[in-house]
Symmetry: D3
């Protein structure tokens, strides 16, 4: 089922089935490079799904040989062209431009449901920023990862340097950032950056969707609570995070989901949980 009320995107193909949303980068000829449309569409798609609670888990994958070549040259050219005017105001504008790009991938982290990235071939530059903001990463044997920005004379600024140190050893992050070298799939797994390596994309998608199915079968409130807590604890002390957890539970722990899970268990059937509340249902 393609969700009818998802608008048509030029850089993404989005489908939702059985509570799993599948967002595919769909410009394989251009190596799924991140053009202006992409930067607008990816957060819009993710936020739309979250807003309307259309899925309980999101899988991001990509068509073609490579996951994504990162920033499209046209964006750099645009940036170059608008790099003018009184220098203080230009600096302030550039700061906001970077923040706007960063916000794009914050959407992945802020979505209430987990976002899984399934990567084949190259994930270059901006693509590393993007998958670093996903919950978990999976890849094919031929996958490789590259903090390309250093090589083109700039510091990666869309999240890679802020998120990688939380998901792989610092010593390796630094080497990758300073040298701009490729990290191959095997190293990516052994350092904990990806959870699993699969022989090819087909197998990978099959397996990642199995994980997604397991997640989607659980109470979406329970899963959303996990995501909120893991996000929170990354940026707070353990004591503060424990207090937050307990305070969260004062509202979010309720009997219906636990009862449903338990009777489903006893009756050896799939539990049937309500979806999350659409956010669109505002005050």
């Amino acid at each position: 089922m393609t969700v009818p009320n998802l608008k048509n995107y030029s850089t993404l193909s989005v489908s939702i089935e059985e509570n799993i949303a599948h967002i595919q980068l769909c410009r394989p000829q251009e190596l799924n490079s991140m053009n202006l449309a992409f930067w607008a569409e990816i957060p819009e798609a993710v936020r739309y799904i979250d807003e309307h609670a259309l899925a309980r888990v999101i899988v991001i994958s990509s068509q073609g040989k490579h996951f994504s070549a990162g920033m499209d040259l046209s964006v750099f050219e645009n940036m170059g062209a608008s790099f003018k005017g009184e220098p203080a105001r230009r600096a302030e504008k550039f700061r906001r431009h970077v923040m706007q790009l960063q916000d794009t991938f914050n959407a992945l982290e802020e979505a209430r449901m987990p976002v899984l990235a399934a990567i084949q071939g190259g994930a270059i530059g901006g693509a590393v920023d993007m998958i670093s903001a996903c919950d978990s990463r999976y890849c094919t044997q031929d996958a490789f990862f590259c903090i390309k920005e250093t090589e083109i004379g700039m510091t990666a600024d869309v999240g890679t340097l802020q998120r990688l140190p939380h998901i792989m050893p610092h010593g390796l992050v630094r080497e990758l950032a300073y040298t701009g070298r490729n990290m191959m799939s095997k190293e990516a797994q052994s350092c904990g950056f990806v959870n699993h390596v699969y022989p090819d994309q087909e197998t990978m998608l099959l397996e990642v969707f199995k994980l997604a199915k397991t997640i989607a079968a659980h109470s979406p409130m329970a899963v959303a609570g996990c995501k909120e807590m893991i996000n929170y604890t990354r940026d707070n002390t353990v004591a503060n995070s424990l207090n937050y957890m307990a305070t969260w539970q004062s509202g979010m722990f309720q009997m219906p989901d636990v009862m449903e899970a338990m009777s489903a268990g006893q009756q050896k059937r799939e539990a049937a949980f309500e979806n999350l509340q659409p956010k669109s249902d505002k005050l």
Copy 2:
């Protein structure tokens, strides 16, 4: 030597020899599930040992095929039964209940001496919360770990989500939390969650007690300083932690232990250090 003034516990068997306390979960028939008595006894035992400086290191292990099945059903039933009354006050009470459970395992972290967990078979739900609060983890080949709570419709709330991200890669923590799948011993070691995997429980206990002996042979002040600093640095900036370290040393670095260590070294004998001060010796 069983310590005479340790009271008798119904869920734990506690013995102390040569400065090593051994706390065993002793309800193997019930899979060492965590019943109300357990939640009261484990912090009481640990705090008693710390309070009276009865040991320099604590080993927690378990009897039977499985380490622990996690929360006992009776606790859930209790919780369900007391889940009533005016909803705001019930929420506030539930928040305190969660905090009370959390505090149980904080005791492991706050004890001045290291706490080592030796795990065989399943460590499920609350058991993961518990061992995440230990200093280091060791397991047998047949061990497996499971964030069970998601499967039963709730968010794990006793420390797992707050502590795991500090002791294994985030991408894996998220997968384990969202799917509730088992993590086997091999994966647990390669991701850094356990330090070592042993073929069976007997070998494991032998080796863990060797480590414990090494620790117990060191100055307990030096070891307690290490624990305090590693705990502290997890929740503070490096600059703040360095300052704390130096300030700590202004009182805690003194000559006697260094001298004893050095002459013992020269004389090729075991160093003989004073124990920690009992906390019971209050103002």
Copy 3:
């Protein structure tokens, strides 16, 4: 080329070629133990290089069979001798002494260019404090690492306990700190502490200098930005770090380096970037 205006050091041999500074510990007969001169010279050398922007990357290695035996006994004796006087003032003085030692290795972290450590044989006590403050670590097969301080009756206080938990799993840090046991090269790699293990020192230096060359070929502004950001994010929330990144770019992202990188790419030649500004060029 030996840099002429680097003063002569008694514990270090420093040379700079093609934007790579090589600092060698040069007291192999004394196992490169850290005597009073060393504690003064290592920060002085690093700061001098940074101050004058003499290099784009620093490699620290060591002569002889072992990287370094850690604190020289003479320093302890000095410390012991000056451990007297009114106890409060002595405590305050000792606190400052520890801070002074810590500051020594902060210099490695604060240098604008990456610092790579290449370790053979033993890295003991203070040597672990030092390499923990480097950006990345590389070692030979025969290398081993030891938090010796615990064994001599004191808590390691020059940075090991503050920095290790950011660069290897906590459970392992704790075991190493409490037991004072050796960690061999293989374990050091699998836990992420070192990036790579080489068969011997010659191979290691060859390969580490290849990495250094790659780094030195990049825009030193881009690389310095990476280092600043990875340092910053370790001690700040992701949200705060993203904001810092964007604010940094408002000044530090400029066209010349990007243009040079791009035309060099198109012209298939090495890019030629300006060095960092000497800090000595003060207001």
Copy 4:
């Protein structure tokens, strides 16, 4: 001049003259109570002005005898009506509702230009949340302030308890919050909550606009920098804030505004600074 492209608001009257935006609460008959339209319009108006850089300072005032009676009853009724469904999902939804209300006033804090509040008569409940998020507060002699929420059985949740402790002594904040009593203008000034008390609204507006004119005559980049820094320092250490300041200046300190200010000073004329960049001018 009424700005033509500001849409018409039902609860606000907005005009912009000489770089000063004046937002007036314009439902005096309903005591400027905060109905659903208000909660949508106030952030929209402020963000629109900021987005398009339509002003260099914003003054918020109110028509009629009282500044604002706070939350409109209709909002509570709405809230009550939507307070249903599965309790965990309802709780999650309520949490988001509160965040949505909070975000409304975050807009005042996040606007790049200062926001001055000019208050007459009563500022009750939600009105205190609102003015606490303004940069500075001014009032008439007959003004009074009341944390009304306590009296109606709930904890104020839209920012009052988070921001007041930064702008008046804690001991007084607590008394006001616990008792729900009125604070009169004189006390509000002596405790630092308002900067100045004026005999009547006419005088107040005259004087506040004088201040606004002074602000609008300055470089809007210099003023925006001040606001960003004061906001930042509230939530960060002094050391971190100093570093942020210096990093900000690397891009935002440029010669043109300083030169213009200096030659205007020498030529005894008003300096003519460029406006801030519209945010609408996106990448």
Copy 5:
């Protein structure tokens, strides 16, 4: 009504009427100096009241001419006598002693209900530590406050230096701490340390009990929420605190208290709210 199950205290006289607990320091002949019994009794009394939800507000006052002369000499003598043994262990023990004293006054901050201090005459040394941990302070004209510790050769270590900077201007805190001079009631009010000055103790108690009555008439859940939030925001960023507020409300905002407050308002009667849940009602 004297609460029967409050045990008899030697340093305190405790009574509870109409949801207001009154704790009086009752050793006027000894100037209510803080002896060993006092340090044990004050937290015990406060925690007992909180534990059992015996009151909705606590007033602390004192009998005799002076509020309290601070630390009793006997405690110092005790401390001196126990200041011996191996110096590192003695230092560790002294650290815990200070923490134990600090914890005494943390009890005031952690109680769910507000604690008001009503001070006459001198509040010296430890008394300043104590009232700094109260929610609000009120005093008589003849009251004065003194950070005595400096004068007796030590740094105040029971909370004064940690809490005063949050409740009066830093420049004044520093002067008081460095000089140890008396701050008179008038200055205490103008700097925001006390909320109000009354001509004599009788009037003060009358007025403070009026405030207490107002507080006790409100929903204790609403008031406890205020206290939790103001405590929390002192130690967290505004963004984090707003999120905490919203999360708290997801459980603690419920209709019954709001409905009761509203119908009581309409019916012009006192609202009748349930008390807080006793904490003793544990899991």
Copy 6:
């Protein structure tokens, strides 16, 4: 007594008597403007006094009609002249220049002894940055304070915006920063920025030296502990600060100063405390 080993300064006159150092800005003809020499000399003088423990308190005052006109024009001209070269490197250099200026006043905060500022006439621009970093401020009736930077087209960047919000109400800080208006002595006192206003400079110096004498008569360890704690608590949570306090006391609380204070009290004589340890006495 002029201290012989203090080098001669061109912008400062420094004398030390009875443990009180007096640093006077001594270029009254140039309104004590802050030229390049000043920025080097003020931290050097303060650090020299601290380094060698030459005093127990420092008073900063100024000669002539005005305290200081702030940044000397020559510094701006220098800055303008060096504002060139590749823009990224220039930005990085400018960032360091700002940090270098900031560090100048950090010296006041970091000195172990209190620093009191005694201000007459105008304290403009950089002078506000400077006195904000002092422990306490005192002024004459004719004193006024001005955040001049806004008026000259730039954001104040040497500490004013980071420190003022900790020492006066935020609403007022913002008004002063945005408008650049003068704050007169009376307002400065009522908002808590200065501790006391005196009719003229002579009286002020007399009274400030009385305070200084009181401070100098106390144990310098006790006073230094107060300063460290108040500095620390500004940037840390109360819980963290209490822990720091207790840890500090483990080393710094010792009997000799307390005993001396007590016997001096009993014998009605001045207590005679040892000075702080010179820092120069390094490891």
